[in-house]
């Protein structure tokens, strides 16, 4: 009697297993790499209705963040400035420049400039800006070197793991309150200065919540 199965069938189960393992590896690696906010959010750089350069205003001119984002240290929400803030200078500087036509139109009509939001925490996260900046967490920790960005992009992943990394080890991220808005500040290297900075966590009673309800209220 002839064989029911030809000889090559013997290799099929092994080949199928190898194929499945390869597919599984590819899917796991792909999902890990592409489903993470490090891929989905980081690098998001929408074109804004006005080509506002943070690099020039915050970097070259060194205007304080709070000149425009005035309420960041008084409110949970860090505000986008009204066009009157732009016009405080641009009623004199580049006052007829076509690049600023949208700003002038907004100032005259009262219609807001349709800025495109870059950093958007999910609606179930209750992030409060003022409590962070008033306790020594610099703008740069979450927003990156905005003063070097011609066009603002999403620099950090702002995932839950990102938040928790700092909430678990605040002493590695805290800085003197007067350096919060200085995006170029470097952590000192000598041990004495480091221990002084780490002491802020205790001195200011910084106790970042790690429970769910701390942020998901």
């Amino acid at each position: 009697m002839a064989n029911i199965f030809p000889k090559w069938v013997n290799a099929v189960p092994v080949k199928v297993i190898i194929a499945l393992v390869l597919i599984k590896i590819a899917v796991v690696v792909g999902v890990t790499y592409y489903f993470s906010p490090e891929y989905t959010r980081v690098g998001y750089a929408p074109t804004q209705p006005v080509a506002f350069s943070h690099e020039f205003h915050a970097g070259t001119l060194d205007i304080d963040c709070r000149y425009c984002h005035t309420f960041v240290d008084r409110s949970g929400h860090s505000n986008v400035p009204g066009s009157n803030v732009c016009m405080s200078c641009h009623s004199m500087v580049l006052k007829n420049d076509p690049k600023l036509a949208t700003v002038r139109q907004s100032y005259d009509s009262g219609e807001p400039i349709p800025w495109v939001r870059v950093h958007k925490a999910p609606d179930y996260v209750y992030f409060n800006h003022s409590v962070h900046v008033n306790r020594g967490i610099g703008c740069v920790e979450c927003h990156g070197q905005v003063d070097e960005m011609e066009v603002v992009y999403h620099a950090k992943q702002l995932s839950m793991g990102f938040c928790l990394e700092c909430h678990r080890n605040p002493e590695d991220y805290i800085r003197p309150v007067e350096e919060v808005y200085n995006l170029d500040w470097q952590r000192p290297t000598d041990p004495e200065a480091i221990s002084e900075i780490e002491g802020f966590v205790h001195d200011w009673g910084v106790n970042p919540p790690q429970s769910c309800s701390g942020c998901h209220r």
Partner: protein, 217 residues
């Protein structure tokens, strides 16, 4: 098997070439992979709201309305002897006396904390145009902004209330800052501005002997 491996590698190459790498700049809005309640039907600050005609979520206050806490002390209003805004409160609010002239009374207790706040606020909101020492040589001067120097007889002799009024409501080319600074912040800037004036216009008899010897007088 060979066919499978070819397809496998082609699929990986296709995925990577379509999706790219982490952190590359993109105009595409971040994809919310598991968007469980990431965007909820609730009102957030400075957001869009299709219910209103101008699509703004934040409502402007009706004309002539006064927001709570900005004008009248509520406890005073409900006092049986309430007559109207007291003169002291009027000075605090507007820098003016009851007869409309500028007041020279400083409505807050002057202490080091208020001076420090004034320095902080000055260095956020004023320094770009008026300069670190208040001489009108701010960083924006080369771009065509004309800012007053505080170091002339007119501004040295002017009432505190006048300076307060200019900070709040602006003057000439300068826009007012009352939408961004609360009363205490404005008065703190008045205080710091007086200190700046003093720093550039001090009689040597006001200096201690030690300070004089340091300066070689």
């Amino acid at each position: 098997m060979r066919i499978f491996l070819t397809i496998y590698i082609l699929v990986i190459i296709a995925t990577v070439s379509i999706l790219g790498f982490r952190g590359s700049l993109t105009e595409k809005e971040p994809v919310e992979v598991f968007n469980d309640m990431d965007r909820q039907a609730k009102y957030k600050p400075q957001a869009e709201n299709s219910f209103f005609k101008n699509r703004q979520n934040d409502r402007l206050k009706p004309s002539l309305a006064v927001s709570r806490g900005s004008a009248l002390d509520m406890r005073a209003v409900f006092d049986p002897d309430f007559q109207g805004v007291s003169e002291a409160r009027l000075i605090e609010l507007s820098g003016k006396n009851e007869d409309g002239t500028f007041s020279n009374d400083f409505p807050f207790e002057v202490d080091y904390k208020l001076m420090q706040d004034g320095q902080k606020n000055y260095n956020i909101y004023c320094v770009s145009c008026h300069g670190v020492s208040g001489d009108g040589n701010g960083v924006t001067k080369p771009y065509g902004i004309l800012a007053a120097s505080y170091h002339d007889d007119r501004l040295r002799n002017v009432e505190d209330g006048y300076i307060y009024d200019v900070i709040a409501n602006g003057k000439g080319l300068m826009y007012g800052l009352k939408d961004r600074l609360d009363m205490r912040q404005r008065w703190s800037i008045v205080l710091y501005l007086r200190a700046l004036q003093r720093s550039q216009y001090t009689d040597q008899n006001d200096l201690s002997n030690k300070e004089k010897s340091e300066l070689g007088l």
